[in-house]
């Protein structure tokens, strides 16, 4: 559970790991299907977690924008 949470929170390291996975596919000389499947499963997990985290970040950002825009309206009035 703790591992899951940290996975979700580390957007940046998730992206880095995803980049490593895609590089692995690009540079694969031997067709290691078993290892490839493991990587696909890992990538899908990372992407799911990252999208969830991204959604949270976007929502927080929306709130902040609302706050700032609200302040602007008060200042201008």
């Amino acid at each position: 559970m703790i591992k899951e949470k940290s996975k979700e929170k580390n957007l940046n390291s998730n992206l880095k790991r995803l980049s490593e996975i895609t590089d692995w596919f690009d540079n694969q000389q031997e067709a290691d299907v078993e290892e490839g499947l493991k990587k696909v499963k890992e990538a899908v997990e990372l992407i799911k977690a990252s999208k969830a985290r991204l959604k949270n970040v976007e929502n927080e950002f929306k709130e902040i924008k609302k706050e700032i825009d609200g302040e602007d309206t008060v200042t201008n009035s």
């Binding site: 694969q28 067709a31 990538a43 991204l54």
Partner: protein
């Protein structure tokens, strides 16, 4: 009733016997209300040992004489040299000195006539200019984001209203001194106001008054005031209206503007710019962060697509490898060879590969596509035979 009271008082006064001193005091009380501006030509000017100046003002028309004195403390203020033949305007009130008799005590003095004023203005301007007082290099920049502002002006009138209406709400803390700004009498007030502000924690001093004639602006051409402004501890903004001759105080100030509105705008300037910058930064940060979020989303989508396509490619490659191996195995299948006409010869359990593997008369099995042929060795021919 009041009539009776006045009569009683009058009678009492008539009967009272004053000492000389008491009577002179009483006389001076009455004389005080005769304060006035008097114009005349100076004669018999005499600088006393204590620095007070004694002189007469003479009337052009009938040679009437008014005995006058101006005390050193006042004389030093105005930059007017009292010498015989100079026409001046003295403001003051009559006074009966207990030892020396009657004198008109001048509070202020100024040169009379626009021509003379202009001449003196030009003279002082030249002198101060030669001292480098108006040099642009002396001008100090106004502090950015000033907050503590000192104002010297007359609080009655449009000047302060114009200034206040145009000073925006940037958290300014304004201290004001209500000060006379008209005529020679303003010099003392202005000097005292500057003295007061010297002890105050301010970042900018603003001296303001509306426009006027050379005569009404005379205080702003006072040498001592100009020096005080030029050497003031913080930058000075002068907003002194004028037509032709720029007041010397304005020339010595760090910033000179023509109206209180412009003075207020100058104080607003750095704050307004900061407000605009904040708005711009805010917008930039919002846009940049929005782009970052978009990029992350795109990166995630791209990673997913790449992973899937990478894995598909991997599967395809694996399939191809399998097919290749299958073909290779199929190509090397011995059954297939037998169908093509090849056979496998065995002697006992051993496959015959060389002539040395058999001897004459040995029985050998020849395996062909559909069965086995038993044969006997009749002759052995080696390749090099």
């Amino acid at each position: 009733m009041p009539f009776i009271v006045r009569n009683i008082n009058k009678t009492t006064m008539d009967e009272k016997i004053f000492t000389v001193s008491e009577y002179v005091d009483r006389l001076n009380e009455g004389l005080r209300k005769y304060s006035a501006k008097v114009i005349g030509e100076v004669s018999s000017a005499n600088l006393g040992p204590t620095g007070h100046v004694y002189f007469y003002l003479k009337d052009d028309k009938d040679q009437s004489l008014l005995k006058c004195v101006i005390f050193k403390s006042k004389y030093d203020l105005y930059g007017v040299e009292i010498k015989d033949g100079v026409k001046i305007i003295a403001f003051g009130s009559p006074n009966m000195h207990k030892q020396y008799g009657f004198s008109f005590v001048a509070e202020t003095i100024e040169y009379a006539g626009e021509g003379l004023l202009k001449k003196e203005y030009e003279k002082l301007k030249k002198k101060l200019s030669e001292q480098g007082l108006f040099e642009p290099a002396r001008k100090r920049p106004l502090p950015k984001y000033p907050q503590r502002i000192g104002i010297i002006t007359a609080l009655k009138g449009a000047v302060i209203a114009d200034f206040s209406n145009n000073l925006e709400k940037f958290g300014f803390r304004v201290k004001m001194i209500d000060c006379r700004v008209d005529g020679q009498i303003a010099v003392n007030d202005l000097l005292l106001s500057i003295k007061t502000f010297k002890k105050q924690d301010i970042e900018v001093l603003v001296i303001m008054r509306g426009g006027g004639s050379l005569e009404s602006l005379i205080a702003f051409n006072n040498e001592r005031l100009v020096l005080e402004v030029a050497n003031f501890k913080v930058p000075v903004i002068a907003a002194i209206g004028h037509h032709k001759d720029v007041p010397l105080v304005a020339m010595a100030a760090d910033v000179s503007v023509s109206t209180p509105t412009v003075a207020a705008n100058i104080l607003n300037q750095s704050w307004s710019q900061a407000a605009l910058s904040l708005e711009r930064y805010q917008r930039n940060i919002k846009d940049h962060f929005q782009n970052i979020l978009l990029n992350v989303r795109m990166a995630l989508d791209s990673a997913l697509a790449k992973t899937f396509s990478g894995f598909n490619a991997l599967l395809l490659r694996f399939k191809k490898q399998l097919e290749y191996i299958e073909k290779a195995i199929s190509a090397n299948n011995p059954e297939r060879r037998l169908a093509l006409g090849y056979s496998i010869a065995k002697c006992g359990d051993k496959i015959i590969r060389r002539t040395a593997d058999v001897r004459l008369e040995d029985d050998i099995d020849l395996r062909v596509m559909d069965g086995t042929i038993i044969s006997k060795i009749k002759k052995i021919n080696k390749k090099n035979d």
